[in-house]
């Protein structure tokens, strides 16, 4: 018996398979590339031969693409990323008080007290410090993103880089490059700037208590982890499955939902990878709201519809979350 969790983020799509004892049994990492449905299908194609439909007891989705994928997969639980990350963090360590989550497009801070979320925040107007920004800078410096953190560790002196805003950080960095500073020093400077930006922006006014978990794709960057530790003055923990914590949380939540409702899973099966899904969107002209409605078709059959305010279109497919 397995529990599936799917996290469809802006940059990556992660699928995890938890076994009966809730250990991570399998995981798939894919690039979303702006096409969540295709990413999901590619992912399930990889899993198809290893597992049987009957073995799945529950499935949950999370991430910014959770809505659309829940229709395709028949998810039992559709939850936002904050709850999913908190769930997974608490599952691995009940003592965790703060979770830093930095993903491809957004960053979050979650504060917990005895395993219950008490406060959270997301980045509002600035994307500095998120994965896509780091990706771009790594590319500019000609360093593979996987190596980024190690470079920072090589440096002894961080170059000061403005971290207030992604655009300023970038132009500051180019300027320092042109002056001939060592790449390692610039990278270290960048890591520190991003950590500062995160704490001033997302973590503004929040009481950050240890133990801190650092989750999300950016947690792979050891340079940023170290920068956080330097500023905060205590150790930051990167959980083993830091990059799929959202998906793990979704799987745990799905398990909880199915067990509390004592129902069977709605999972549609692994062969969804062979189906042809078409989405078409149109502007509803029935009122001045002019909602952009998205319709998902499985071949000829409409399986979901959303984007409308009044509920006229999505009546059949109510939001199941919350």
């Amino acid at each position: 018996m397995y529990y599936l969790g799917v996290d469809v983020g802006s940059v990556s799509t992660d699928i995890v398979v938890l076994d009966e004892k809730l250990n991570v049994y399998d995981q798939v990492y894919l690039r979303t590339k702006g096409r969540p449905i295709e990413a999901i299908q590619r992912g399930f194609k990889q899993l198809k031969n290893k597992y049987k439909d009957k073995e799945v007891r529950a499935i949950g989705t999370t991430g910014s693409g959770r809505g659309i994928t829940s229709f395709i997969l028949g998810a039992d639980c559709v939850k936002n990323e904050i709850t999913a990350h908190a769930m997974a963090g608490v599952y691995y360590d009940k003592e965790v008080k703060t979770i830093f989550e930095i993903g491809g497009q957004d960053s979050k801070i979650i504060l917990l007290n005895q395993g219950v979320v008490t406060d959270f925040a997301m980045n509002t107007v600035c994307a500095a410090g998120t994965g896509s920004f780091l990706d771009r800078q790594a590319e500019r410096l000609g360093i593979p993103i996987e190596e980024f953190g190690n470079y920072a560790l090589k440096s002894k002196l961080a170059v000061r880089i403005a971290g207030r805003c992604a655009v300023f950080a970038e132009s500051d960095m180019i300027h320092k490059q042109q002056l001939g500073y060592d790449s390692a020093d610039i990278i270290k400077g960048l890591c520190e700037a991003l950590a500062r930006n995160y704490l001033n922006n997302v973590g503004k006014g929040k009481d950050i208590q240890p133990k801190v978990f650092f989750q999300g794709g950016v947690a792979a960057n050891i340079g940023i982890k170290e920068a956080f530790e330097k500023i905060l003055g205590f150790e930051i923990f990167v959980p083993k499955y830091y990059n799929v914590m959202g998906a793990i949380g979704a799987a745990l939540l799905a398990k909880e939902t199915v067990e509390s409702k004592r129902c069977k899973t709605n999972f549609k099966g692994f062969d969804i990878s062979d189906h042809v899904f078409i989405t078409n969107s149109f502007q509803c002209k029935d009122c001045p709201n002019e909602c952009e409605v998205v319709r998902i078709l499985d071949g000829e059959v409409e399986i979901g519809c959303f984007g409308d305010r009044c509920g006229k279109w999505n009546q059949k497919s109510h939001i199941k979350s919350s």
Binding site: E81, V117, D119, M122, V125, P288, N289, S322
Partner: protein
């Protein structure tokens, strides 16, 4: 003369009833929408806040339909909003539109004489008798109070309704029907009938839904488009929502201000945290937050447009209220972005937070 006015929640319903009674030609701008925002954002100064942009969009969409006179309320600068009319006049003038602005302002600022002459200008356009004119005003006030009452109750009852979505459907239907009725007395009758219908919605009194209070900047509170229809979203989740701000609240507030008896309870509640006026309705925001705590709400959502100075002040005060009173407060900032995902994630996570705090799964009935 063909008058128009910017949207502010349900005011268009009252204005329609008033102008229908007065027999004055009017154009109601299409309900605030993405196109209005696009037009408004394109023609407005970049740093100005969201209300300004949507209002400009409203004007231009009305002018294109033949309006030539804009009526707005000014309230002479509690914050930037009070100075909007001047800037908006020059924006529209630069675009080559020939429109007259009539700013109905607080008599304390412009003098009763000036106010009388401005209102006189509007009233002279109507050929009805004086008594008819007074009746028109009376009907408008009555309509807005009824409509606001219906909306406020529907949002609260939504937490208790047995047939999911009934309150929301009733509210949308009510707005739609009143708006399509051009006979003022029939329109009022429709409102009254919906008030009665609302009280007959089957509810489960034993249910304990999550209760959320909405506070913050007045425009983003009242004009649903500006806050991405947050209350409708909360209704979908089966949450009982309370919001004190509404056009009728504003009417009462402005009327009582002359006697210095405006929003007494909220202002007294705020006193402990904010003694001074910092502009706009920041003090009321703080007060409402404290009152929401005292009334036993589970959480508070604070709304403001990016760059709103008075609400930035109250935002930092709300942080300490949240800590001292141990009540979750979430602040949502609104700007030109029309993407929903970020807001939905925050709202959902906030609901989860409140739910888990309560431990018993009140929403598990879904």
């Amino acid at each position: 003369m063909v008058v128009t006015f910017p949207h502010l929640g349900n005011t268009y319903i009252a204005c329609k009833i008033m102008f229908d009674s007065l027999g004055i030609d009017y154009v109601i701008p299409p309900l605030s929408n993405k196109e209005a925002l696009r037009i408004g954002a394109f023609h407005s100064p970049d740093e100005i806040c969201l209300p300004f942009k949507i209002m400009i969009g409203n004007y231009i969409q009305s002018i294109e339909k033949g309006a030539d006179t804009v009526i707005i309320v000014g309230s002479c600068g509690p914050c930037r909003l009070g100075e909007y009319c001047e800037l908006q006049m020059s924006v529209l003038k630069n675009l080559g539109y020939q429109v007259k602005f009539i700013v109905v302002d607080y008599p304390g600022e412009i003098g009763i004489k000036e106010l009388a002459s401005r209102i006189g200008y509007i009233s002279n356009q109507s050929h009805k008798k004086k008594i008819e004119k007074l009746r028109a005003l009376y009907r408008a006030v009555k309509a807005i109070r009824l409509m606001d009452y219906i909306e406020q109750s529907a949002r609260m009852i939504a937490g208790y309704e047995i047939n999911r979505g009934e309150c929301k459907r009733l509210l949308l239907q009510c707005r739609d029907r009143v708006f399509n009725e051009s006979d003022p007395s029939k329109a009022l009758k429709i409102l009254k009938s919906y008030k009665a219908k609302l009280s007959k919605i089957p509810i489960d009194k034993k249910r304990k839904p999550l209760k959320i209070a909405i506070v913050g900047e007045i425009y983003t509170n009242i004009e649903s488009f500006a806050n991405h229809f947050i209350e409708d979203t909360l209704m979908d989740y089966g949450i009982a929502t309370y919001k004190s701000l509404s056009p009728s609240w504003w009417l009462k507030y402005t009327g009582l201000k002359v006697l210095k008896l405006h929003a007494v309870r909220a202002r007294l509640a705020a006193k402990q945290y904010l003694k001074y006026e910092v502009g706009a309705y920041a003090k009321e925001t703080v007060g409402e937050a404290v009152l929401a705590y005292e009334r036993g709400y589970d959480g508070i959502i604070h709304l403001l447009p990016v760059g709103c100075m008075p609400e930035i002040v109250s935002k930092s005060i709300l942080t300490s209220i949240a800590k001292e009173k141990d009540i979750p407060i979430m602040t949502l900032l609104f700007d030109e972005m029309t993407g929903e995902a970020g807001y939905l994630t925050r709202i959902e996570a906030f609901i989860d937070l409140l739910e888990r705090r309560r431990r018993d799964h009140v929403l598990s009935w879904r």
